[in-house]
């Protein structure tokens, strides 16, 4: 359980996060979503006490992180895949981390195996690819068998197999009752991994709700209709808040009406329908709709 209360952090004149209050609950994967520069990493660093909030506070399991007798048992954090000395081997890095808490050597080799690093464990980290660095970061986070996991962009640089592995790992960890707090800029990844989402834009919380709710709230549902009588149907359906897009002959994309209503209307008028499909909005669309006003570095639309 992570509890943030009115967290504010400024770097000079720039406010990184403003008045954040949220809870990350155990037993589920909580996604932390937001455009670049929204303040996700800053927030995560404040949770483990690397950055000090200007005002507000954050606790893990009821206490500030630094007050725990065995911090690595409480929280495992992957904040930056490069938080490792490049001149040291992966194994020595993990042994040094483990030694602070008197964690057994056996556990070090367990996490090396768990993250698939056996063949490179005795190599110096400087030569690691981004993906291997991520695996080492995850191994370090798992070292203390923590009840809370904080992972900042864990799939960054991983190959598809690695992405799948991380997804299964975090689902499994949440299934064991642990608290998993995961940031990612890959919205599609979040849709498949997270149960709950906290969406951040320009340092403030835009949304804090279960994934389905955010998707539902973020976009209006679209219905795809294929019919030989497309033109007639379109005339019948026309109404002030109904948007109909005819992308090709015989195909309508309708926003603002339920699939059932469209089907009933077509039946009542004796018009044949070949396809009637509600289109599920993607999290990507929901996210873009949510953060449209809160993007710090906007890319100009390609014309």
């Amino acid at each position: 359980m992570i509890t943030a209360t009115a967290l504010t952090k400024r770097y000079g004149a720039k406010t990184a996060v403003h008045d954040l209050s949220f809870e990350v609950r155990p037993g589920q994967v909580t996604g932390f979503l937001g455009p670049n520069g929204a303040g996700k990493s800053t927030t995560m660093r404040m949770i483990v006490g690397l950055d000090r909030p200007d005002t507000g506070s954050v606790t893990v399991g009821g206490k500030p992180y630094a007050e725990h007798r065995a911090p690595l048992h409480e929280v495992g954090a992957l904040l930056d895949a490069k938080a490792v000395h490049t001149g040291r081997t992966a194994e020595n890095h993990l042994l040094a981390m483990a030694a602070t808490h008197g964690i057994a050597k056996r556990r070090v080799h367990e996490v090396i195996e768990l993250t698939g690093l056996e063949s490179v464990a005795r190599k110096r980290v400087g030569g690691f690819s981004l993906g291997m660095g991520q695996r080492l970061g995850i191994a370090a986070a798992m070292l203390g068998d923590p009840s809370v996991l904080i992972l900042d962009e864990p799939v960054n640089g991983l190959d598809p197999e690695g992405v799948l592995w991380v997804r299964q790992l975090v689902r499994h960890l949440a299934g064991e009752g642990r608290t998993v707090f995961l940031s990612s800029h890959l919205m599609s990844e979040m849709a498949q991994t997270a149960d709950h989402l906290i969406v951040l834009g320009r340092g403030e919380i835009i949304a804090d709700a279960p994934v389905e709710e955010i998707i539902a709230a973020g976009t209006r549902q679209r219905v795809r209709v294929r019919s030989p009588h497309a033109s007639q149907l379109a005339e019948l359906l026309a109404a002030p808040d109904v948007v109909i897009i005819r992308s090709e002959a015989g195909l309508l994309e309708i926003t603002g009406l339920e699939a059932a209503g469209i089907g009933d209307l077509a039946a009542a008028n004796g018009l044949a329908i070949h396809e009637l499909t509600p289109q599920n909005a993607s999290l990507e669309e929901a996210y873009l709709a949510l953060t449209a006003d809160a993007v710090e570095y906007r890319t100009e639309a390609v014309r």
């Binding site: 483990v48 006490g49 065995a70 602070t100 367990e110 768990l114 993906g131 068998d145 064991e176």
Partner: protein
């Protein structure tokens, strides 16, 4: 890309461990010891200290023993003979201090430049025990290397002087004190540099700062033709450091400034300022 490492693992968090392990200062010391010995730069630095000390001892011994000053060294009074052998044995400390100073800076600045500091401070979120752990491990390691090196250098020097008919025992008065004092100075300089490295957080800046304090400051002060400048000289880190072991057993009347023990206190004062600044900034700053 190493394909061998991408084999998917059965998904598991590993067995839940019995949570008996605790963060402890003993654990932090072990951790810092693993960190110290698992970097090539550390091993190289210490090897260079050993090589320089032995090399300088050989050079110095030959030039002194072969009557550089035109005198017959075997005819010199015993105290002077001991002095010459000792001077040869610890001569390398002048250069060794620069090497251990660089090492002291790198121990912490290397963590800042690579990002390792975030791992270190996540494991030790109260922060000061991490700095203390580094200081203790660095101090002890440098002291041990210094003692062993100085004993070896003394052995080399004594052997060379023996060829010229000068025989000095390791157990002669003050010999062990001087050799140990020189090693202690090396250890203290390395910890001083650790403090500076923590304050400055960059390798280049930290190294420039400690070398500036050790080398440049005495030179600059020497160029100032004022009495206060020459009065200040014995209180500089490197001057006090040399005095604290080179003048052990010397007649106080022959010393212009503080004696060996007072100079040790001066060195400790430099250390205290550096470490206090490091502690305050480490605790206060974002990592």
């Amino acid at each position: 890309m190493t394909t061998a490492t991408t084999a998917a693992r059965p998904v598991q968090g590993g067995p839940r461990l019995p949570h008996t392990a605790r963060l402890s200062f003993g654990g932090i010391l072990r951790s810092e010891w693993i960190k110290l010995r698992s970097l090539r730069s550390t091993v190289w630095s210490y090897l260079i200290v050993v090589a320089i000390s032995l090399g300088m001892a050989v050079l110095m011994s030959f030039s002194l023993a072969n009557g550089m000053s035109g005198m017959d060294v075997s005819a010199a009074p015993p105290a002077e003979q001991t002095g010459m052998v000792l001077q040869s044995a610890v001569f390398g400390t002048y250069f060794g201090q620069l090497v251990v100073a660089v090492l002291g800076v790198l121990i912490i600045s290397g963590e800042y430049t690579t990002g390792m500091i975030r791992s270190t401070l996540s494991a030790v979120p109260k922060r000061l025990p991490a700095l203390a752990g580094k200081a203790v491990v660095l101090f002890v390691a440098t002291l041990v290397v210094g003692v062993v090196t100085n004993l070896a250098a003394f052995g080399v020097a004594a052997a060379i002087f023996a060829g010229s008919g000068v025989h000095v025992s390791l157990f002669a008065e003050n010999v062990l004190l001087v050799l140990g004092g020189a090693a202690l100075y090396l250890a203290l300089v390395s910890v001083f540099a650790l403090g500076i490295g923590t304050i400055i957080r960059s390798s280049a800046g930290g190294i420039a700062a400690v070398l500036g304090i050790l080398l440049l400051l005495p030179t600059v002060l020497g160029l100032i033709p004022a009495e206060w400048a020459s009065d200040l000289m014995p209180y500089l880190l490197s001057s006090a450091g040399m005095t604290m072991f080179m003048t052990i057993g010397a007649d106080p009347a022959t010393l212009p400034g503080p004696n060996a023990w007072q100079s040790l206190l001066v060195v400790l004062a430099w250390l205290a300022v550096s470490l206090a600044g490091a502690a305050v900034l480490l605790k206060r700053r974002d990592a």
